[in-house]
């Protein structure tokens, strides 16, 4: 999985609680992404980062925040989890911003009850 580790792999949390998902890479790639995968929607971009402390919103960013204080770590925080955020979350890296493909982590299955 291209040196990408997501943690935790599975989590159940209660509505209204904050949750942080971690993506760690070992390759020092500049570009990192958080996606969510839902049936009927494919993958949708939540947030992305193009360097340390450089982040921007994707298409479904409401209710999520991110931080990147080190090249290797990209954190996704659900500020106050809701049932609509029950999903599988994938982190991805891209070696450069040109024509290269992305490499994905194994995913985190999050259930909000």
């Amino acid at each position: 999985d291209a040196g990408i580790t997501q943690s935790p792999r599975h989590k159940v949390t209660e509505t209204g609680t904050p949750v942080t998902l971690r993506c760690h890479q070992t390759e020092n790639h500049r570009y990192m992404y958080w996606y969510r995968q839902d049936p009927g929607h494919g993958l949708r971009l939540i947030h992305y980062s193009y360097g340390v402390k450089d982040t921007d919103k994707g298409e479904v960013s409401d209710g999520y925040s991110v931080s990147r204080s080190k090249t290797e770590d990209f954190l996704l925080t659900l500020e106050s989890a809701t049932s609509s955020q029950t999903s599988v979350y994938f982190c991805a890296i891209r070696p450069d911003r040109r024509n290269t493909e992305a490499f994905f982590g194994q995913g985190t299955r999050l259930t909000v009850v």
Binding site: D1, I4, G40, H41, G42, L43, R44, L45, Y48, Y50, D56, E59, F90, A92, R97, N99, E101, A102, F103, F104, G105, Q106, G107
Partner: protein, 117 residues
């Protein structure tokens, strides 16, 4: 706005038969096109991409895809399906005409391929 359509939720094919998974796209400029595969409980894995040049692109595990600009399609193909090819397949597109910043990749909703022994 760019978009990707995968018109079939599921494709069933007998082992040994050729398979096709369909993808059509819409972008304002020229596209970069990708196919990814997802096995159960795993992340997406890159299969192949079209950037420019030959319309027939060869990728991993014997897969290939044909870029057809007039039909705005990028169908995934394999001459002889294996049971181990059973997985979820995603087509993705990026518009190379949008300058600077993040160049958005749009994914299709996925097609489940079932290869029957």
């Amino acid at each position: 706005a760019q978009s990707v359509a995968q018109p079939e939720d599921q494709v069933n094919v007998a082992e040994g038969n050729p398979l096709t998974v369909k993808c059509t796209y819409s972008v304002s400029g020229n596209p970069y096109l990708f196919w990814y595969v997802q096995y159960p409980n795993r992340g997406l894995q890159f299969l192949l991409k079209y950037i420019t040049g030959d319309n027939l692109v060869k990728g991993s595990y014997g897969f290939e895809a044909e870029f057809n600009k007039s039909q705005t399609s990028f169908h995934l193909k394999k001459p002889s399906a294996l049971v181990s090819d059973s997985a979820l397949y995603f087509c993705a597109v990026r518009d190379i005409g949008i300058p600077g910043g993040y160049q958005k990749v749009t994914f299709g909703i996925g097609t489940k391929l079932q290869v029957i022994p």
